[in-house]
Symmetry: C2
Subunit: 502 residues, 2 copies
C-alpha cells in the first residue's frame, strides 16, 4: 500500500475509534444528567463496558499494529498530525499489547471490588479493610508496568500516563521548591493578624439567581454557549462530544453560592480549552487537550487567576449586585475578593484554597513515590499521611476517612494522577507570566476584556489539541518546560497582599 | 470450532452490534431531548453516521457470513433464541451483501438531498421540484431490491422489511375489506344527525397540569416509570436503551390537552411492549418488538382501545377532574368519551381519527403498489392522490402540501412502511377479540384493572421480543394470521354507538 493510502486508512480507523469513545462519553453524560431510570443501570453499565472493550481492542488490534509499523519508517516525512496520532497510539499500544487478557480481566474486577470496599471503608473509617485491596492494586500495577518491558522506573511510567514526559526527577525539583517556600508562606498567613470575614458568602441565594450568576461567569470568561451547554449534576465536570458541543455541569448549594460560581469558572476553563482546539482536528483523536496537567492549567487559570482576582470583582461587581439584590448591598468588591481568597488549611483536598492546594498534592506525591519505590508497608500509610499533613498544612486528621481514605483515585488504580492537579496550577502561573510580556493581563480583566486573554491562550495552547506534548508547547512559548518559580512567585505576591504580609 | 463455541461467539458478536446500535439510539435521544448546542450538529451527525456505518458493516462482514454459514446446518438443533438471531441477521445479510458500496453511498446521499428537497417542496407547495427525486428514489429502491436476487415481487420485499411475512396478496384482502366496509361506514357517520361538541377540549390547560395528566395516564396504563422516563420533544416518540430504560416523549399544547394525553397513551403502549420483553433477552438483539405492525398494535391498543373507551373515562373521570379543576365541572364522562371519538374526515394522516386512519393508509398503499408495479408516472401522483382522498374520505386537498407531499417517508426512501400503521390497528382489534375470550376487557378497564390486560398482552406477545415472527405469534394465540374482520367489527360497533347509527 502507498503510504498516503496507509495514512488515510489509519485516520479512518481512528475516526471509528473516536466515534465509539464519544458514544461512551455520551453514555456518561446521560447517566450523570439525564436522570435515566435506576432500573436501567445494569444494562447501561454493560453497554458502556462493551463499548469500552471495543475501543480498547482497537488500540491493541493487529490492524493497529499494522498501521503503526507501516508508518514508523516514514515518520520524518509525515505531517505533524499523523505523527501525533502515531505517537499517541504507539503509546497506548505499547502500554497494553503484552498484558495477558486474563490479567487485564482480573484487574478490571479488582478495580470494581476495590472501589466498593473503599466506599464502605471511608464511610466506616476502616482503613484496615481497604489495606489488602490497596496492596493488591499496587502489586497489580507494578506487574502491568513490567509487561511494557521498559527500563524506566515504574512510577515515572505512571506519571507519564497522565502528563507525558513528567518524571520524579522533575517533580522532586518542583515539590522541593513548594516545600521550601509555600509551607513557610502558609505559616505566615496562618499567623497573620488579618482575619477575613466571609460569612456573607453563606447567605441564602436561590438556585434561580445562582443560575444567573453561572450564566454571567460563563459570559465573562468566554465559554461559548452556542457551542456548549451547562447542566446540574452531583459533582461538577466537563465532557466533550465535539469542539462545538462541550458540556459542563455544576452543583448549586443554596447557602454557598461561591462554590458553584467557582466550579462554573473552573469547568468553563476546561471547556474553553476544548472549544478552541483548531477545527482542523474536529472529530479526530487530536481534538482533546493533550494532558491532564495542561487541561487543569486552563481550569485553574479561569477559576483562580481570573475569577479570584481583585480586578475581576472590580469589573463584575455591578453585574453581581444586580443579581444578588439588596441583601448584598453591604458587600464591597474588596469583600468579594477577600472572601474568594480566604486561606484555611483544612484536611480535605477538594475543599482546599488556592494557597494550600498543592500541599495536599505534595502529601500524595510523596506517598505514591514511597509506594512504588517499594519502601513502605501499606498499613503504615495512615500514620505517614497524618504526619505529612501536620508538617505541611499544620492540621491532623482525626480519622482516616478525612485522611488517607478521602480520595477515590487509588481505589480505582489511579496512581500518578494526583500530581497533574498541582501541575495545572504551576502551568497556569507560568502561562500568566509569559502572557504578561504581551499584555496587561489584570488590566484586561479589569476592563472586561477577557477575550484578549482567551485568544492568547487559544493561540499558544488550545488550538494544538493533542498535536504536541506539554513540554513542546511550553518550550515554544518561552523556551522552558515546567518551572515552579512562577507559581511560587504568584502565590507569594497574591497572598502577601491579601494577608498584608511584610 | 464446536457449534456451542460458534453460538457463543455469534452472540458476543451480536452483543457488540447491539451496544453500537444503542449508542446510536442514545445520540438520537440526546439530539431530540438534550437541547445540545446547535453548533455541534454537524459533528453529532458525523459521529452517528460512523456508528451507523460500523453497525451496518457488522451485518455484512465476513465474520457475520462465517457465523451464518456455520450455524445454518445446525438450525434444527439450536435454541429458538439462536434460531431467531440467525433468522434476523440472515435477512439483513441477504438484503445488503450484494449491494455495491458505491451504490449504497450514492443512495445515502440521495436520501439526504431528497429529504431537504421534500422539506422545501412541502413548504412551497411545489411537487414538481420533488418529483425527479421521488423518481430516483423509486428507481434506486428497485435496483437495490434486484441485488438480492430473489424472485419475490419488489413491493412484497419492501413490505416484508417492516412486517415480516406481509405480502400484497394478504394486504389486498385486508384493504378490500376496508374499502367495502369502512368507506360506507364513514359516509353514514358523516351523514348522521349527531354532532359532537368537543370545544371544551380546547380550553387552556397549563403545561404543569398536563404533566400531571401524563403521569396519570402512564400510571393507569402501566408504563413503569422505575424503568422508563418521559421527556418533552417536538414530535412524540418512544426509544429504548434497555428493557429497564425505555424512554417516551410528548409535546404539550396549552389549548389541546387531548393531543398530548393520547400521545402519552400511544407512546406508553410502545414502551410497555419494550418493558415487558422477557429479561432472558436483555441487552441482546432480541430485546426489541418484532415488527412495526405489532409494535403499532400495542400503541394503538393502549391509545384507542383502552384510553378512548367509555369505560376508561368512567374509571378515571374523578382523577381527571381533580387535575382539571373547576373549569371543567360542566364536563361529564360521556362528553370526554365522545370528544375522544369525534370523527372528522380530514386531509392529514397524523391528525386522523380512529375511524378514518386506515383510509389514509389505504391511499398510500394503493399508490405504492402502482409505483412499484411500474404502472404510474410519478408526475401523476398528485392527481391520483387527490382522487383517492375524495373517493375514500370525501375530502380533496387544495394543494399538494396537504396532499401527496404531507408525509416525510418517501423522501427518506421508506416505501412499504405505511401499511404497518394500519396493521397495528387491525392487530390490536384482533388481540382485543382474543383477549375477550379470557376476560371482561372493558369491565377491567372500568374497574381500573388494566394490569390484567397488560399481563395478558405481555404473556401472549411482549415477552417474546423478536423471538418469533408476527404471524407465528398471532397463530399461537388463536390459530390465525392477520384477519381484518375483527377490526371492521370493532369499528362498526364503536362508531355505530358513538354516532347512534341504525
Amino acid at each position: 500500500m502507498q503510504i498516503d493510502e496507509t495514512v488515510k486508512c489509519f485516520k479512518s480507523y481512528l475516526e471509528r475509534y473516536h466515534a465509539i469513545r464519544m458514544a461512551e462519553s455520551l453514555f456518561h453524560w446521560d447517566m450523570q444528567t439525564g436522570n435515566p431510570p435506576e432500573g436501567g443501570q445494569e444494562s447501561r453499565a454493560k453497554l458502556v463496558s462493551i463499548l469500552g472493550a471495543e475501543s480498547f481492542q482497537m488500540t491493541i488490534s493487529d490492524e493497529m499494529k499494522g498501521f503503526l509499523d507501516a508508518l514508523e519508517p516514514h515518520l520524518n516525512t509525515l505531517s505533524d498530525e499523523t505523527k501525533a496520532m502515531h505517537r499517541i497510539f504507539s503509546k497506548k499500544y505499547n502500554e497494553a499489547k503484552n498484558v495477558p487478557a486474563e490479567e487485564a480481566r482480573k484487574y478490571f474486577e479488582l478495580q470494581a471490588v476495590a472501589y466498593e470496599v473503599w466506599r464502605k471503608a471511608k464511610h466506616n473509617n476502616d482503613f484496615a479493610s481497604f489495606a489488602p485491596y490497596l496492596k493488591e492494586l499496587v502489586e497489580t500495577n507494578k506487574r502491568l508496568i513490567k509487561y511494557r518491558g521498559s527500563d524506566a522506573k515504574p512510577y515515572d511510567m505512571m506519571l507519564d500516563e497522565y502528563e507525558p514526559g513528567m518524571t520524579m526527577e522533575k517533580l522532586d525539583v518542583y515539590f522541593d521548591k513548594m516545600r521550601k517556600t509555600i509551607v513557610p508562606l502558609l505559616k505566615k498567613v496562618v499567623a497573620s493578624e488579618k482575619k477575613i470575614d466571609n460569612s456573607f458568602t453563606f447567605r441564602t441565594i436561590s438556585i434561580d439567581k445562582q443560575k444567573k450568576i453561572a450564566a454571567l461567569v460563563m459570559k465573562k470568561v468566554g465559554f461559548d454557549l452556542n457551542r456548549g451547554l451547562i447542566a446540574e449534576t452531583e459533582h461538577p465536570f466537563c465532557l466533550t462530544i465535539s469542539q462545538n458541543d462541550v458540556r459542563i455541569s455544576t452543583h448549586y448549594y443554596e447557602n454557598n453560592f461561591l462554590s458553584s460560581m467557582f466550579s462554573v469558572a473552573h469547568e468553563s476553563g476546561h471547556g474553553i480549552y476544548e472549544q478552541n482546539i483548531s477545527s482542523e482536528f474536529a472529530d479526530t483523536v487530536l481534538s482533546d487537550g493533550v494532558s491532564f496537567g495542561l487541561h487543569e492549567s486552563q481550569s485553574r487559570f479561569f477559576e483562580n487567576i481570573i475569577c479570584r482576582s481583585y480586578e475581576f470583582w472590580q469589573n463584575s461587581y455591578d453585574e453581581f449586585m444586580e443579581i444578588l439584590g439588596d441583601d448584598f448591598k453591604d458587600v464591597t468588591p474588596e469583600m468579594f475578593y477577600e472572601a474568594a481568597n480566604v486561606v484555611n488549611p483544612s484536611l480535605i483536598r477538594i475543599e482546599a484554597d488556592e494557597l494550600t492546594y498543592s500541599l495536599h498534592i505534595m502529601v500524595r506525591y510523596e506517598i505514591e513515590k514511597l509506594i512504588f519505590g517499594g519502601e513502605v508497608d501499606v498499613n503504615d500509610l495512615p500514620s505517614i499521611w497524618n504526619k505529612k499533613m501536620e508538617e505541611y498544612l499544620g492540621v491532623t486528621p482525626k480519622n482516616d476517612s478525612e485522611g488517607v481514605l478521602q480520595d477515590v483515585h487509588w481505589s480505582s488504580g489511579l496512581f500518578g494522577y494526583f500530581p497533574s492537579y498541582s501541575l495545572g496550577n504551576a502551568y497556569a502561573a507560568q502561562l500568566l507570566s509569559y502572557m504578561q510580556k504581551d499584555m496587561d493581563v489584570f488590566g484586561n480583566i479589569k476592563n472586561g476584556n477577557v477575550d484578549a486573554i482567551r485568544e492568547w491562550l487559544s493561540e499558544k495552547l488550545h488550538k494544538f489539541g493533542s498535536l504536541y506534548e506539554p513540554s513542546t508547547i511550553l518550550k515554544a512559548i518561552n523556551g522552558e518546560e515546567l518551572n515552579a518559580d512562577y507559581y511560587v512567585e504568584y502565590l507569594e505576591n497574591k497572598f502577601s497582599k491579601v494577608y498584608n504580609l511584610k
